[in-house]
């Protein structure tokens, strides 16, 4: 054990840290009541505008996770959100640019 006078600087650091922590806001948020604004570039969830889509199936072919199934007749575009890894590769590949990657997470009530 070091002698008592050696502990003095440690004590000062300790007291300083104590006061700083008392005067500081918590680092965490009370999620889900307080939510941070999503960053604009964040890949949160994938949506499609069915009016623009031509059901060409390019997105489904490119998808690395096989999360998309596209059929020409009857026209359908299905995303399995549990398979999707949110890579945005389909969004870049789409010739009609009808898909968008939204920056927020998909919520149940949305």
């Amino acid at each position: 054990m070091p002698p008592a006078y050696c502990l003095m600087p440690i004590m000062f650091t300790f007291v300083r840290t104590l006061f700083r922590n008392l005067s500081r806001k918590p680092a965490t948020r009370t999620y889900p009541f307080t939510q941070r604004e999503p960053f604009a570039n964040f890949r949160g969830h994938l949506t499609i505008d069915p009016a623009v889509c031509i059901y060409c199936g390019i997105c489904a072919k490119r998808c690395p996770a096989n999360a998309l199934v596209v059929a020409k007749s009857p026209k359908s575009w299905t995303l399995d959100p549990y398979k999707c890894i949110l890579c945005s590769y389909c969004v870049e590949a789409c010739p009609k640019k009808c898909m968008t990657m939204r920056p927020e997470h998909q919520r149940k009530d949305a």
Partner: protein
Amino acid sequence: MTRQTIIPFGPQHPVLPEPIQLKLVLEDKKVVGAIPSIGYIHRGLEKLAQQKDYIQSIFLIERICGICSFLHSMAYCQGIEEMMNVEVPPRANNLRIIWAEMHRIHSHLLWMGLLADSFGFESLFMEIWRCRETVLDIMEETAGGRVMLGVCTVGGVRRDIPPELIKKVLATCDELQAHFDHFIPSILNDYSVKQRTVGVGVLTKEVALERGVVGPVARASGVVMDHRVAKYGAYANFDVEPQIEQDGDCYARSKVRVRELYQSLDLVRQSVATLPEGEFNIPVKGNPDGEVISRVEQPRGEVLYYLRGNGSKFLDRMRVRTPTFANLPGLLAMIPGCELSDVPVIILSIDPCISCTER
């Protein structure tokens, strides 16, 4: 002769973030040997990568590791680019370095928090992980993902960092530096930290060379080995000084990583300062053909990718040698002779990433 007991350590253990089992051979409280058994989280990713085309594989390969994901995709893309003779635009190379070094920072911070946790220093663990959030946030803002960035691609990167975000990256570097200056002295000079790490799990230089360890584990034993000095990608423009320590114990490994935190901040700043204008991505035509070995320095050491193409969009073979795989023999040399209570600290000191190892 003292009676020997074998106790299983893992695969589920509070200090282990990922499953690995070590059967510890004990004589009283002294550990005299360790028998590893891995294979709990083998996912068959190498085989799966041969069934996806070479661009789709990037997203898969990123998921080999949940910590240094960007560096995996970077190593893979570098290999494919070499095979296809693609010259990556200089801006893309610099952007890759920014993200790669940010990954190193977040990985080392994650490790440091876990180390603090492994010897029961909970408040330090929380302090460090709070700081890590800063890095994750800036990665999310620039790349769109917190850990799975998904920005590296063959021929460059998929996203640019616009000037206003570049400013934010620099501001984050300053913020991180202030955080580091705040908590790093309490790691390196703390009495209790030293008690738990100095002289524990010593790996001498000879054994380190013999067992072929890589990364900070090798550097802490005095082996000058850092693949970044080989100047791949934009590292050609920077001088990276390998951080060396001689003692080879857990404390030395911590010191090496702490110094690398500052070094990575420096590299991010340099990379931003020399960021060339221009395109960040070039279109790639054709399919990979040939055989290539691509190496990249990850936070845990050097990763090695072996890629063989056959002229079609599917690869013939992909093989990964991850740094933890190379460090496990070193770990087995560190454990004999230590106390049972030191085993968690020693295991964490090599910064094991079992998911990478088993792929």
